[in-house]
């Protein structure tokens, strides 16, 4: 008989959600200020900041929620986040021209202690660890 999925919002998952929540808050707030006060300076970077913020919000909601829908949302957001930090990180390492201002994913999240690079890996591990089997 298949074992049901464990809640992602339980035990150590709550620490993960706390970190995701902090990033959701800081990334969206930062992008909001950037877009509201000086959008013309670096529109691409600021839109990317906003996108990253939305992804962190969705990941937080997905991990904190219950049921298959929330789990799918979390998978999607965390995978997108991993791809985002790898693509943007690589682009910014080789060519800083397109990114005149830092985003949360620039240089693999160096401005945030590389937490943005580690976080999706931990997130994927946790989703796998709690999956139904």
């Amino acid at each position: 008989m298949a074992e049901p999925a464990r809640a992602t919002a339980s035990g150590p998952g709550r620490v993960l959600i706390a970190v995701y929540g902090v990033f959701a808050l800081s990334a969206t707030a930062r992008a909001g200020v950037q877009i509201a006060t000086r959008f013309d300076e670096a529109p691409l970077a600021y839109l990317l900041s906003a996108l990253a913020g939305v992804v962190y919000v969705l990941a937080t909601i997905g991990l904190a929620g219950r049921g298959a829908g929330a789990r799918r949302l979390a998978w999607g957001a965390v995978v997108f986040e991993l791809v985002g930090v790898l693509v943007v990180g690589t682009l910014t390492v080789f060519d800083t021209g397109d990114f005149p201002d830092d985003t949360v994913w620039s240089i693999y999240g160096r401005g945030y202690g590389f937490v943005p690079l580690v976080l999706p890996l931990v997130g994927l591990w946790w989703l796998r660890h709690t999956r139904p089997r």
Binding site: S10, P12, A18, G21, V22, L25, A36, T37
Partner: protein, 120 residues
């Protein structure tokens, strides 16, 4: 912002983060001392935010006033929310959640201080 108060706040936040991690390592849920410590730290943060807000609205010029005010709100709100979330499920991991909130708050206070000195 007041330099001495910033130091006190950062030391208190560090102590809170360490205490949270210690309860997690010792396999204990957040106890009454955790919530008391959070209360004291949040009281300090409220005092700091009130002083800073009064001075900003009193005419202290800052390079990024809106960013400063957002950080000010964040510095006060994160710990109560984190503590609520930490104590909702009383397991060993609650302390680590409080520690995450304390570290995030410390970063916000650090940024506040940076923005303040850039303006002064």
């Amino acid at each position: 912002m007041i330099g001495a108060l910033v130091v006190v706040v950062l030391v208190a936040l560090s102590a809170l983060a360490v205490y949270g991690v210690v309860t997690t390592v010792l396999n204990r849920p957040p106890d009454v001392w955790t919530t008391r410590a959070v209360g004291v730290v949040v009281a300090l943060l409220v005092v700091q935010a009130a002083i800073a807000a009064v001075r900003v609205f009193g005419g202290v010029a800052l390079p990024e006033t809106s960013t400063f005010l957002i950080y000010l709100v964040v510095s006060v709100c994160v710990l109560p929310i984190a503590t609520q979330f930490a104590t909702a499920e009383p397991t060993r991991w609650g302390g680590a959640v409080v520690a995450v909130g304390a570290i995030a708050t410390a970063v916000a206070v650090w940024r506040l201080q940076g923005l303040w000195t850039a303006g002064g």
